[in-house]
Amino acid sequence: MPTRRRALRRLALGGVAAAGAVATCGCGHSDDPRGPLNFWAMGREAEVVTELLPAFYARHPGVQVRVQQLPWTAAHEKLLTAYAGGALPDLCQLGNTWLPKFTALDALEPLDALVAGSRIQREDYFAGILDTNVMATPQGERLFGLPWYVDTRLLFYRTDLLRAAGFGHPPQSWAEWLTAMRAIKQRADARGARGYGVLLPLNEPDPLFALALQQGELLAENGTRGAFAKPAFRRALDFYAGIFHEGLAPLMTNTQVSNVWDEFARGLFTFYVSGPWNIGEFRRHLPPSAQGDWATAPLPGPNGPGVSTAGGSSLVLFKGSPRKPAAWQLIEFLSEPATMQRFHALTGNLPPRRSAWRSAALANDAPSQAFAAQLERVRAAPKIPEWERIFQEMQLTAERVVQRTQSADAATQQLDAWTDALLEKRRWLRARGHVVGAGT
């Protein structure tokens, strides 16, 4: 049956070829189980991983690895066309929000048995991050990837400005956060300076998404309908839009802030919701005089420290690979705490395993420690292939509310209607008994 289906698919794709769907790639996959491993990685990670490989070769002299670098902007379509053309690599770095797509395509190999048979302990991973790799299948929940590095959002802030406004420690709840931002704004206004509480670039969906995750579900009925007009999302949206409407955040997209670090150093804003890469960027770009005046803190929640997003990249094994044992050896190697520590030293990417955080570089680093605390409180995005698209639409909707071109009621109802239309196929599939989110 699967072969027939595959043949049918090939046939269908013959027709689609006109649309340029099939990438037949000379570099593709030979079926030789002893051939070199094809490993696709993105951006900087691809450059760095080659530096980690000598240690791997020393342990597994028979294995050769061919790393291919994909630019982030093209990776997604390249992977999908490779799937359509049957030219996927053996293993790959995959953004963890892309996992639902590739499990829906039934392209990934479940890793449960492999992990159970290795020295990797699942409990060592931050639970919220590992959960982004667990998908529903007809056989139950399965693990389809191992986190490689993590990403989440929290507060970067100016300690001196916060102290000057009368606060000795960063806010923990939404109410405290609002009070602090109001005081900062008042102080700036009183001195005739241009100062805002927080920078939330209008075209970045992550801050609103993190706030919404703190309130509850974004989708209803097993991820087949939008829940944006429901009270949970509305509370997050009202809080988010309220920050702008009170004038506590500038109405700016991240392209309108020509240089975030300059503006941060100048005091245009005190709080900035951002991710781990900015630890390194702040150290590189802030002037030496401002280096002592910034810190990070976990994201405030509605009533005390809140959850945030569970992002990052995972390592996955493709089902069609003829070299799974060797590919698994590489994943195992890259998942060792010692390798993760080296990887962190080379890239600044934060490791997903708690034991890797015991290195001095991380344990003694104050800005990273806030991330360690936050990573204990992260929640996965809805695990459906359409999520990325809904995520973008969510921000466009929020932007209209912030700009006051639409009321929050009308905007969220419109977003729900749009989401329901987008997910119609999922409802149809469920009605026919498919386990959606996984291959059949």
Binding site: A12, G15, A18, A19, A104, L105, A421
Partner: protein
Amino acid sequence: MRRPGAIGWALAAPALVVIAVFFALPVIAGLALSLTDFDLYALADLSTLRFVGLANYGHLLRTPLFWQALGNTLYFVAVGVPVSIGLSLGAALLLNSRFARWQPFFRTALFAPVVTTVVAVAVIWRYLLHTRYGLINQALAAIGVDPVDWLGDPHWSMPAIILFAAWRNFGYNMIILLAALQAVPRELYESARVDGAGALRQFTDLTFPMLTPTLVMVGIMTISGYFQLFAEPYVMTQGGPLRSTVSVLYFMYEEGFRWWNLGNASAVAFLLFVVIFSVSWVLLRFDREPGSNA
């Protein structure tokens, strides 16, 4: 009678086969695809493919982003085509002028942008358009104009794309118009001068009428080319900021290859085809009528 027909068909067969395989079949497959909901789920399991009739088209016509993309594309065509043809005509007139020196050099230099790689040139243009360090803003600053955030401001992103596209394309039309200019008999200018026509009069009453057929042809080709705007926003802005540079084709690309809704994407392609076809048809009409009076 039969024989020459058979031989004719035999001779035309290779070309016909190529057209059938590489044009007719894909078009039919695309049309068929546009009547289905081919998506990620269908890619995984073909049994989930559904025939949806014209639902994709109905859905598109109710999608605000599609209309925005169409609006952006019309803006690009309405401003970009006159600017581009105006530049081409201006350059062709300068090159054809009796006072032009080093004509072959300038002809090649002005044609060069056409043969450049759009991605490579886009990188350079992004430097030129940079808000703080870009040469364009520095030139504007010299005459006292405040810096313009070309690719970050939704009001300026499309003008920036138009500028880039016009620069990249004007050389092609320039060559065609130059050839048409050189085909105007010199005696006509001589007699016009004898009749006392000045340079402006010569252009409006002699050069322009003689160029009209070529201009219409150039216009139709440029319009249908400009409707298919894709590479410029793809490499320069990825459709942003605030979706101000999403063209119809970029929208189709996102539907098809980003979200993998090939059914929807094919429907967009056919709607774009209808738009280009109708505009070209109107233009041809427009051309024929004054032509028949002359």
